[in-house]
């Protein structure tokens, strides 16, 4: 146990005893619900997704076009001073092919998640989204050009999923 204390209360137990339910537990399901205010910058972003557009905020001091938009430039710590639309096309910065769902069960079809540098945004700025219509996932490459596939206008609700996914496009 330790140099000074040779015995703690209790008995050693074996795996079998766990399996047979001899070890007691208490279970509880928390009721945790939140509604996060999107705020000035993100509300505008979500509104524009409903319109089928991606909007960025700008910092004229650092000459940055920032997406997702924010009301401050984290580089110079000044409030942002403008808005501009960026394109719904871009380049895969990096991607991963996820063979597991969030609960760690095996997926029949893998989910491809990519960081996409959007055209018109500053370097390393863009969106995280799923890639579909790629054929064989082994064909997906870093640097590949992709374009957003939007939900029809009447189905958009002002959420990141108003874009269904991005798909590879020819140069």
């Amino acid at each position: 146990m330790s140099a000074k204390i040779k015995h703690f209360p209790g008995e050693p137990i074996e795996t079998r005893e766990f399996r047979e339910g001899k070890v007691l537990t208490e279970s509880f399901k928390p009721k945790a619900k939140y509604a996060w205010s999107a705020g000035i910058a993100v509300s505008r972003f979500l509104e524009e997704l409903k319109n089928g557009r991606i909007i960025a905020s700008t910092c004229s001091k650092c000459k940055r076009i920032m997406v997702p938009p924010r009301i401050y430039c984290e580089k110079c710590f000044k409030p942002t001073d403008g808005w501009t639309y960026v394109k719904d096309t871009g380049v895969i910065n990096t991607f991963s092919v996820s063979f597991l769902a969030a609960d760690a069960t095996r997926l029949k079809e893998p989910i491809v998640v990519a960081i996409i540098d959007l055209d018109g945004a500053s370097e390393n700025m863009g969106i995280v989204h799923r890639i579909e219509e790629y054929g064989d996932w082994k064909e997906i490459k870093i640097g590949m050009r992709v374009k957003a596939v939007w939900k029809p206008p009447e189905e958009r609700v002002g959420a990141i999923t108003d874009i269904k996914y991005f798909k590879p496009v020819k140069e």
């Binding site: 205010s37 000035i40 009301i71 401050y72 580089k75 710590f77």
Partner: protein
Amino acid sequence: MCEVAIVGVGCVGFRPITLELSYKELMFEAAVKAYEDAGGIDPRKDVDVFVTCAEDYLEGFSIFDEFVPDQLGAALRHLFTVSGDGMLGLATAYMLIKTGHFDTVVVEAHSKASDILTYMDIVNFGLDPIFNRPLGGHPYYIAGLEMNRYLHDTCTTEEQCAQVVVKNKKNAIANPYAAYGADVTLDQVLCSKTLFHPLKKLEISTPADGCIVMVLASEKVAEKLTDKPVWVKGVGWCTETPSLETRDWTRAIYTRLAAEMAYKTAGIANPWRDIDFAEIHDMFAYKELQHMEALKLCDYGEAGKLTEEGLTALEGEFPVNASGGLLGMGFGLEASGLQKVLEVVLQLRGEAGSRQIEDVEAGLAHTWRGIPTATGAVAVLSNVK
């Protein structure tokens, strides 16, 4: 060792809801104000360490620490989060500067209580899952348990507790940072619904949204940045056993020990005499009285009488919660401690407007982490080095 001062404060709120701003935007606004107040420092280069205070379940994010740097100017700078009340962040900043390795440290705490749709379930989730949670009931019954025993043992009256509400809500009317200022009568408080016997509705503070950012600096930097440094003379903190079955139900021992720790560093022998006013955690009205006694401002069982006699009123001999307290400002969750420190700073700088207390040199800020905790912290501040 060098002295440590608060050189800048920034506050947004407190308001019942702030639907129009995200927590990030709330933090940005408070930070901008604090940096401007601290002589216009640039957080991108003039701050050595950032300390934020947040509890994941109150935010609704796991590992909330990761979501805070950008809006404070702390991206790719040196930052960490304390999972606790803002005053523990202040104590951490104080210690960092005392090491001599850091000159400027920023502390942040906020409440976006209006984002939490199931606040009471979150509080309930803080109860022991085996012994207490299965019994059901609203977790604030814990305050009822404590108030009942406190009144029983000290002969403090329900009227004396209600007087705390009348005083604090009235003080809050003069505080632009307060959400719930009101002119209420003793009768209105006493006749408000009993929710957790003997605790009544108007004796319970209501959560509010807000954010406070503070800049602390070492002596040599502080004197360059501001003409009105507020010196941190001592800090202390303490936690009692979490067990409801075994904790002390009358005396707030955690506060007594936190105060003794702070007083020792600050050289305070007689707090009522050596300190001019106090901001004390009053999430529930009786807690102000119980905490006054634990803070050694008066004898055990005496706080109710002093309050009834008006000694702790704004114009009294020893004003308590000139800000309006949490009953008047709103309960700022983990920002509660900084709400207390903020008022002490404003009073010591002479910037408290129509609620300004005259001729003050030293003030006491006290916090408690609320139901179901038994954690408290204390800071002694002064405008004299």
